[in-house]
């Protein structure tokens, strides 16, 4: 039994938590989220390079919360999401036990939020390098060409909202697109409706996106929509010097005014 499974088994046997959220191998050979409530089944838990999904999305799902106190397998993006969720008062640190996993797939002991904060601060918080490269290429294009590139990509969108549902920071029970009096965003999936949706989603995540890339991974038609929010994460750091999900007391940079804020981008 792996260290991870043993840790999970101990937490469940000693009734520290009611459920451990982690990854398991599905029968079709796809690694997927698992919710272990029975210590006997803790050996189903795995961790390897294919365990990419950001599990923090489940911390705010009603039926998962109903299971009771949770432990969660947490790589860096999950830890950063937890920080964001705490800072936005969606979870409290008392609700969850974090089973940290380092970049080289080793278990990390995280007895408290301050330890997690220390781990995050020591990590590389920039966007993943492959996405940085694509963004750099896109930024070389002129505004017209870039707009056309996005128009082409977003024309594939079918408005299934997998990007929204997979995102730990999109926890609203009623999204702005589901408000129809007035109708803020066109419901239909055509180029206008798709563009407005993706722009709205990106703006709502500016300064909140922790660059996990889950939205792009979830997209069934392969739109790299994570590049929009990652670009804004980049911009937030550039103008405000802040990476999202680095402190449990963080205030959203786009919601607060600080006298020291750079104002050089205001026309």
């Amino acid at each position: 039994m792996s260290n991870l499974s043993e840790k999970a088994k101990g937490l469940l046997e000693n009734k520290v938590v009611n459920v451990v959220i982690g990854y398991e191998e599905g029968p079709a050979g796809i690694t997927r989220p698992a919710f272990i409530t029975d210590p006997v089944k803790a050996d189903k838990l795995v961790y390897h390079e294919k365990c990419l999904q950001n599990l923090a999305v489940y911390l705010t799902k009603p039926e998962v919360k109903k299971l009771g106190r949770m432990a969660i397998t947490a790589t860096l993006p999950v830890m950063r999401s937890i920080m964001m969720l705490i800072s936005e008062q969606q979870v409290t640190s008392d609700d969850i036990v974090v089973i940290g996993i380092s970049a080289d797939a080793k278990l990390l002991d995280i007895p408290g939020i301050d330890v997690m904060q220390g781990i995050i601060e020591k990590s590389d918080l920039a966007n993943p390098s492959k996405d940085r490269d694509i963004l750099a290429e896109l930024n070389k294009l002129g505004p017209k060409e870039r707009f056309e590139w996005w128009e082409k990509e977003l024309s594939k969108c079918i408005k299934c909202y997998a990007c929204r549902q997979a995102c730990p920071m999109c926890y609203c029970t009623r999204c702005a697109v589901e408000v129809n009096q007035p109708q803020w965003i066109p419901v239909q999936s055509d180029i206008q409706g798709n563009m407005e949706w993706h722009i709205l989603r990106a703006m709502h995540l500016a300064g909140r996106c922790i660059s996990c890339g889950e939205c792009g991974r979830a997209c069934p038609v392969g739109i790299p929509c994570h590049l929009l929010t990652m670009h804004l994460a980049d911009q937030t750091f550039r103008y405000f010097g802040v990476h999202a999900g680095t402190s449990d007391k963080m205030k959203s940079v786009l919601s607060v005014y600080e006298p020291g804020d750079k104002e050089n981008f205001i026309i």
Binding site: G26, P27, A28, F35, K159, Y161, R164, A166, V187, P220
Partner: protein, 336 residues
Amino acid sequence: MGKELKRIKKDSLERLYNHLSVNRRIYAPVRTPDNKVEYRYNPAFADVTFDHIRSTLSVKNLVFPKVENLLYYTVTKTETTVAEADVNKIRDVVLWGAHPCDAAAYDILRSIFCWDIIDTYFLKRLEKLVVIGLSCKTADEYCFCTSVGLSPDSSKGSDILLSPLKNGDFRAEILTEKGSKIVSSQPSLFEEYPGEEILVAEVRKKFDSDLVTKNLSANFEHPFWIENSLRCLGCGACAYVCPTCACFDIQDETKGKNGRRYRSWDSCGFGLFTIHTSGHNPRSVQSQRWRQRIMHKFSYMPERNNSLGCVGCGRCSQGCPVDMNIAEQLEALQSI
């Protein structure tokens, strides 16, 4: 009409394709640079794929577009005028190379859209559609057509079904009047069929759908639903890639004095799908929505429409970001 068997050579197939593309829209599968398969209007024959397993999206959009205008209106201080969308403007389409699962889906959609009130938009599009099916030479782990009463060479829903032969030629099954018309427009392309065997994929039968249907009606309340849907994110990917999911939303969109009423795809997986004006939501949690998806296709539809609501294409499972594998769950539901 009884089916007729012919042989069509690979180069004759190209001539047939080009003949059908003249002054007509032909919707055919092509591979994209990122190795996905999508259907496009009038691609060059050289770009059309014959060896794909499944396209990312189904081809239901030909009869049920993701956005369909229903009527247009103008509102002034004194009067409101309304004009219905003109179904006579719906154009002919030839669907080329639809696999048997996708071709069979049109009958299921018909059983939904023409259940009581006839949906004229849907029916007109179906009338204008000619389906040239293509049997499957290859399949993968997601395929389960043989568990839902179909097969990789099932002719249901096709007007002509092409099946690959060893030497690169195809067997053509002429199945309907629409199919015969195509043959008689280009008779020289269709030759005598000498009776060679077709190349057809093997698809393992994963579950007995009758048993699933029987078990579902007795297990509306069962811990299975919560246990097996905790990871479901509640997006609409499964419904939107599905060839038989038919739910839609109707919206009015007004710009100044003019506006339109349209319908667009919707999904029972969304939290707001069943919310009442009062605020009450009879399917308030995701397990109830996941149960609805399976119940609708494997219990309610067999009971009311006399057919399963699934063709076993496997798109929902492949498209799901969290591996909500429907065949795996149906297999488990046999012995619930």
